[in-house]
C-alpha cells in the first residue's frame, strides 16, 4: 500500500488550483496543543480584544451572547500562549487539559 493519489486527476481544477477559498478551516490544528489550554477569566477581562487581534491562529471570536467578550476555539488553538502573555489584565491563564477534552466543539471560556 504505497502512497496513492488523494483524488482522480480528472477531478482536479485547472492547474491544480484550489477553488474553495479557506479550505484549511477543515484542518484541526488544535491537536498540536499538549496538556494545557488558555482559559479566560471573564471577571478580570476588560474586553480590550488583544487576545482576538494577536492570536496567530485566530482562535478568538466575538461571543454573540456576551457583548465585548471573546470565545476561544479548541479546534485551532496550538497552545502557543501569546494571548496569555499579551492580555493586559492577565485574565487568561493555562489550565491543564486531558487529551479527550481537546476535541470538544469550539467552546467559550
Amino acid at each position: 500500500m504505497a502512497d496513492s493519489g488523494m483524488q482522480s486527476w480528472k477531478s482536479l481544477a485547472l492547474g491544480c488550483a484550489m477553488t474553495e477559498p479557506g479550505s484549511s478551516k477543515r484542518f484541526n490544528t488544535g491537536d498540536w496543543r499538549s496538556r494545557r489550554r488558555p482559559v479566560t477569566d471573564r471577571e478580570a477581562c476588560i474586553k480590550c480584544g488583544r487576545c482576538y487581534i494577536l492570536c496567530p491562529d485566530m482562535c478568538y471570536s466575538a461571543d454573540p451572547k456576551a457583548e465585548g467578550f471573546y470565545n476561544w476555539d479548541s479546534f485551532y488553538c496550538k497552545g502557543c500562549g501569546i494571548c496569555i502573555v499579551e492580555c493586559p489584565k492577565d485574565a487568561i491563564s493555562w489550565q491543564e487539559e486531558k487529551e479527550e477534552d481537546k476535541y470538544g466543539p469550539a467552546c467559550g471560556s
Binding site: M6, W9, L14, G15, A17, M18, T19, P21
Partner: protein, 391 residues
C-alpha cells in the same frame, strides 16, 4: 482580403500580436528578438495597440510577469531568445502547470558558451520538457500566421496551455519578405476575445500554485500531460480553421516530393526552404529524394510522421542543436525512438548542422544525401555527425 506588404519578419510577428489585440506584453530585449518588442512598444506608444507594455528587468521577470497577467485573465504575449529563454527556464514549467495560455515567440539562437548571437535551435531544444505546445515557422508568413493561431489554440478551453512559436534568429527575424497582412476584421472573425476559465478575481477567489503534496503531484502532472496530448487535435482544428479564414493551410508534418523518394531529408525551421530547392535540383538529376518538415514539435505528431515517411528507405535527419554525450541529436533521438516503437528499421543518418549561425546550403544537402546513401550501402551508420567541422 489583406494586403501584401514587404516587411521584416520580426515586425510581422509584432503585427500578429497587435492583430490579436493582446492586453499585456512583458518582454526584455535580446538579439535577435529585439525588433519584435521594439515594434510592439511603438504600436502601444502610438495607440495602435491598447496594451500594457511592461519593460521588465530580466527574462526571468518577463515570464513571471506573463504568468501574473495571464492569471489575471489578460491575453499575454512575450518573446525572447537563447540566454533569455534559458533564464526563463524555471518559470516555463510553472506557466504550463498553471495552465496559462501565454504566447511566446522564440527567435532561435544558439546557447552560450561560447556566446553566439547567431541562429540554431539549441535554445528551444533545451526546453523540450516544459509542457508547452511548441511549433516552428519556416518563413515570414508562417511567423505571422502561426502566432495568430497560437492565441486561438492556447485559449481553447480544451487546451489552456502556453504556446511557443519558433522562428530562426536573423535568418527569419531580420529578413524583409512579402507578407500577406490580414485585415483586423478577418482576424476578429477567427480569434474571439480571451475568456479565461479561471482567474484571480476577488468575486471568485481561488488559490493558484498550491504545494503539490505527494498525494496530488502525480495527478496534477497527469492532468497537464493529458491536455498537451489532446491539444494535437485542437491544433489541427484551428489550423484548418485558419485555412478556411485566410486560405493558408498548416499541417503538423509538411511533405515535399516524398512520392517515390528513397531518401527523405527531415528538417525543422527555416532550413526547410533551402532543402526544398536542393531536392528540386537533385530530382532534376534523377535522384529519388524528398523532404519531410516537422512543424509541430510538441506534442510530437507521431502518426503524421510515420505516414509521411512511408516507402522511404533512409532518413537524413537535420539537428541544429547538440545533445552532448547522447546517442544522437535531439530530433534524431526522438525519431529513432518512434521508429523503434513502430517496428520500423528504416536507415537513419543524423547530421548536426548550421550551429551558431553557420549557413546551410543546397550543396550541403546534396553531400549529406550522397554520404547517407554511401553509408547505407556500405552497412555503416551515421549516428550523429557534426557537419562541416574544420578538422
Amino acid at each position: 482580403m489583406g494586403q501584401r506588404v514587404g516587411l521584416e519578419v520580426s515586425l510581422a510577428c509584432s503585427e500578429a500580436a497587435k492583430l490579436a489585440n493582446v492586453d499585456v506584453i512583458a518582454a526584455y530585449p535580446i538579439t535577435p528578438q529585439t525588433h519584435i518588442v521594439e515594434h510592439l512598444s511603438e504600436l502601444v506608444a502610438d495607440g495602435d495597440l491598447d496594451a500594457e507594455f511592461v519593460p521588465v528587468e530580466s527574462e526571468h521577470t518577463a515570464m513571471s510577469a506573463c504568468v501574473g497577467s495571464s492569471a489575471a485573465g489578460a491575453r499575454t504575449f512575450t518573446s525572447t531568445a537563447s540566454q533569455g529563454l534559458a533564464l526563463m527556464h524555471e518559470i516555463l514549467f510553472i506557466a504550463s502547470a498553471l495552465r496559462l495560455p501565454i504566447v511566446m515567440a522564440v527567435a532561435n539562437r544558439s546557447l552560450s558558451g561560447p556566446i553566439s548571437i547567431w541562429n540554431d535551435h539549441s535554445d528551444i531544444m533545451a526546453e523540450r520538457d516544459i509542457g508547452w505546445i511548441q511549433y516552428f515557422a519556416e518563413n515570414g508568413q508562417e511567423v505571422l500566421d502561426l502566432t495568430l493561431a497560437a492565441f486561438k489554440i492556447a485559449e481553447d478551453k480544451r487546451v489552456l496551455l502556453p504556446v511557443a512559436v519558433n522562428l530562426d534568429g536573423f535568418v527569419l527575424t531580420h529578413v524583409i519578405e512579402p507578407i500577406e497582412m490580414p485585415d483586423q476584421s478577418e482576424v476578429d472573425a477567427y480569434l474571439p476575445s480571451f475568456e479565461p476559465q479561471q482567474k484571480l478575481d476577488i468575486a471568485h477567489p481561488i488559490s493558484m500554485g498550491m504545494v503539490g503534496m505527494p498525494e496530488v503531484y502525480t495527478e496534477a502532472k497527469k492532468a497537464c500531460l493529458d491536455a498537451l496530448e489532446k491539444s494535437y487535435s485542437v491544433i489541427r482544428e484551428h489550423w484548418d480553421g485558419f485555412a478556411k479564414q485566410f486560405g493558408r493551410q498548416y499541417k503538423p508534418i509538411e511533405s515535399y516530393k516524398t512520392e517515390g523518394a528513397d531518401v527523405l531529408f527531415v528538417t525543422m525551421g527555416s532550413l526547410g526552404e533551402t532543402c526544398m530547392t536542393a531536392v528540386d535540383e537533385m530530382r532534376a538529376q534523377g535522384l529519388k529524394v524528398g523532404q519531410v518538415r516537422i512543424r509541430m514539435w510538441r506534442p510530437f505528431p507521431a502518426d503524421d510522421f510515420m505516414a509521411a515517411i512511408k516507402g522511404a528507405k533512409s532518413l537524413v535527419v537535420m539537428d541544429r542543436a547538440l545533445q552532448p554525450g547522447a546517442v544522437s541529436g535531439p530530433v534524431a533521438t526522438e525519431l529513432k525512438s518512434l521508429l523503434y516503437d513502430k517496428g520500423q528499421s528504416i536507415f537513419v543518418s543524423n547530421f548536426v548542422i548550421g550551429l551558431g549561425g553557420r549557413d546551410v546550403t543546397r550543396a550541403d544537402f546534396a553531400n549529406m544525401a550522397k554520404k547517407t546513401m554511401e553509408a547505407q550501402s556500405a552497412g555503416k551508420e551515421i549516428a550523429c555527425e557534426m557537419w562541416g567541422v574544420k578538422e
